[in-house]
């Protein structure tokens, strides 16, 4: 098996080893590739085995011709090719090869990017926002194909109709927020409304095509019924503005939300979800039955938090990581039972005004090793608990 050799900033001059025979393997890696040199006098064929079938037909392998005296770079080598990619050379004579990997940017600085922490289905890092007049109108989904976009279209809203406001403005982008130790973030600020029973905030959702609204099932995760359990959500965020006009941070405030209630919904993560519970961190849904898990920790606007929420029937949990005023990192996990809902849609903002720096969705039961990585990564961006002036100043 060829082990990856990393490119970096000290230079990498390349160590090419003669092919051990006609067969070899390389670990899959979306940033990895196979570098083959043919110093022989005749052309060779490199064949990459493609596992799996489609419509009961075996997927064809990929054959690459390497003329005499040339080289070829083959990649990237994604997980779809199996844990190990099988490579065959038509002849080993004159063939040398290297498995080469280009690290992601943060990795070279000693810490990875959010996208690289877990096997996300979707991941959004506010560092990758597209801006118009200082507001985020699109945040790239670096793991999937659902960017966060403006929330347009029809959506009933607690006695008012978002149609008369929509699309909602994009949140204000903060290039370096002290709430996240200098990370980029968004703040979903409030905007003027008429006739709404609730204040409205700038917001973004991955469940829109930019034309129809969040309630269009065409735009749900796995339309029409969403992702089935188990699934999990991670959010690095902070409570922002109170939900009630003229309110204080004692009012309900969500940092990640879901609202649809016909066949299920995703978790609403925040404090004191409307009408229920104490002002603790909570995960709730507004689908078939109102259930929640409440963390035994009071949520305040003074704390930046990493919230991990797993929706998995009786094995569900809510986990909150924060720092106290002395800077000690604390983690609390509460387990509980959540009903058998699907994850239809989600959004940030709209009826809450959070600060957000990163969010992600994983399918299946989360790998605890991945959660360790997410916690360790997030710890760098969680400052000690303290009051901070609203942003932008």
């Amino acid at each position: 098996m060829l082990a990856y050799q990393p490119i970096g900033y000290v230079g990498y001059d390349g160590t090419f080893t003669p092919a051990p025979g006609t067969d070899d393997t390389v670990p899959t890696d979306t940033r990895g590739f196979l570098w083959v040199k043919n110093t022989g006098g005749v052309s060779r064929t490199v064949t990459v085995t493609v596992p799996g079938t489609s419509f009961s037909q075996p997927l064809p392998d990929v054959a690459i011709n390497v003329p005499a005296g040339t080289e070829t770079l083959i990649g990237p080598l994604p997980p779809g090719l199996g844990a190990l990619v099988s490579v065959n050379y038509s002849s080993a004579a004159g063939i040398s090869a290297a498995a080469v990997r280009l690290p992601f940017a943060g990795e070279t600085l000693g810490f990875p990017d959010w996208v690289d922490l877990a096997d996300w289905e979707h991941s959004w890092d506010m560092a990758h926002a597209q801006l118009v007049d200082g507001r985020a109108v699109n945040v790239t989904d670096r793991s999937g194909n659902r960017p966060l976009r403006l929330m347009p279209g029809e959506a009933p809203l607690l006695g008012a109709d978002i149609d008369i406001y929509g699309p909602l403005p994009g949140p204000i982008w903060l290039p370096s927020s002290p709430r996240f130790n200098g990370r980029p973030a968004l703040v979903c600020d409030r905007f003027p409304t008429v006739g709404s029973a609730f204040p409205l905030f700038a917001g973004l959702t991955p469940n829109t095509d930019g034309v129809t609204g969040t309630e269009d099932s065409d735009n749900f995760f796995n339309a029409p019924n969403g992702y089935p359990q188990p699934y999990w959500v991670a959010v690095l965020g902070r409570i922002g503005l109170p939900d009630a006009v003229g309110g204080t941070d004692e009012d309900p405030a969500g940092i990640w939300d879901a609202q649809h209630g016909d066949v299920g919904t995703g978790p609403t993560i925040g404090r004191k979800i409307v009408g229920i519970g104490a002002p603790n961190w909570q995960v709730s849904n507004f689908g078939p039955g109102l259930v929640l898990i409440t963390a035994a920790h009071t949520a305040t606007a003074n704390e930046t938090v990493l919230v991990l929420c797993c929706v998995n029937g009786a094995s569900s949990f809510l986990e909150v990581t924060w720092r106290d005023a002395a800077g000690t990192l604390l983690t609390l996990r509460q387990t509980g039972t959540l009903l058998a809902w699907n994850y239809l849609e989600c959004f940030a903002g709209w009826v809450h005004g959070p600060y957000l720096s990163a969010a992600g969705i994983g399918l299946g039961v989360p790998d605890e090793a991945d959660l360790d990585l997410i916690r360790a990564w997030s710890a760098r961006w969680i400052p000690p608990a303290r009051s901070l002036p609203s942003e932008p100043s």
Partner: protein, 110 residues
Amino acid sequence: MALLAPQQIKITGLAPVLAAANAADTVAPDDRVFLLYRNTNAATRNITVVTPTKLDQYGQALPDIVVTIAATTGEERIGPMTQDLADPSTGLITVNLSATTDVTVAAIRI
């Protein structure tokens, strides 16, 4: 000076095409791009990736990234060409070369 256009690695293979390097070349930031240099000259060369002033720390300029490429058969790969390395005024990353004779370069994207 030339703006290096990245060549995309493909599962069907990429035969990279290297071009004569200039004393100063630029590349657009992309964290999936690296630079490949080859030197067939009898002397070594220095490749210098210019670090922009935005990377200054404690009021001190971060030193440029210097990689020496061996003589005659030398080749080096440097990357990723992350956004942090881009000059805010141009949006590009600048790479200088101590001498250009017999040195070729390609920007390659994975």
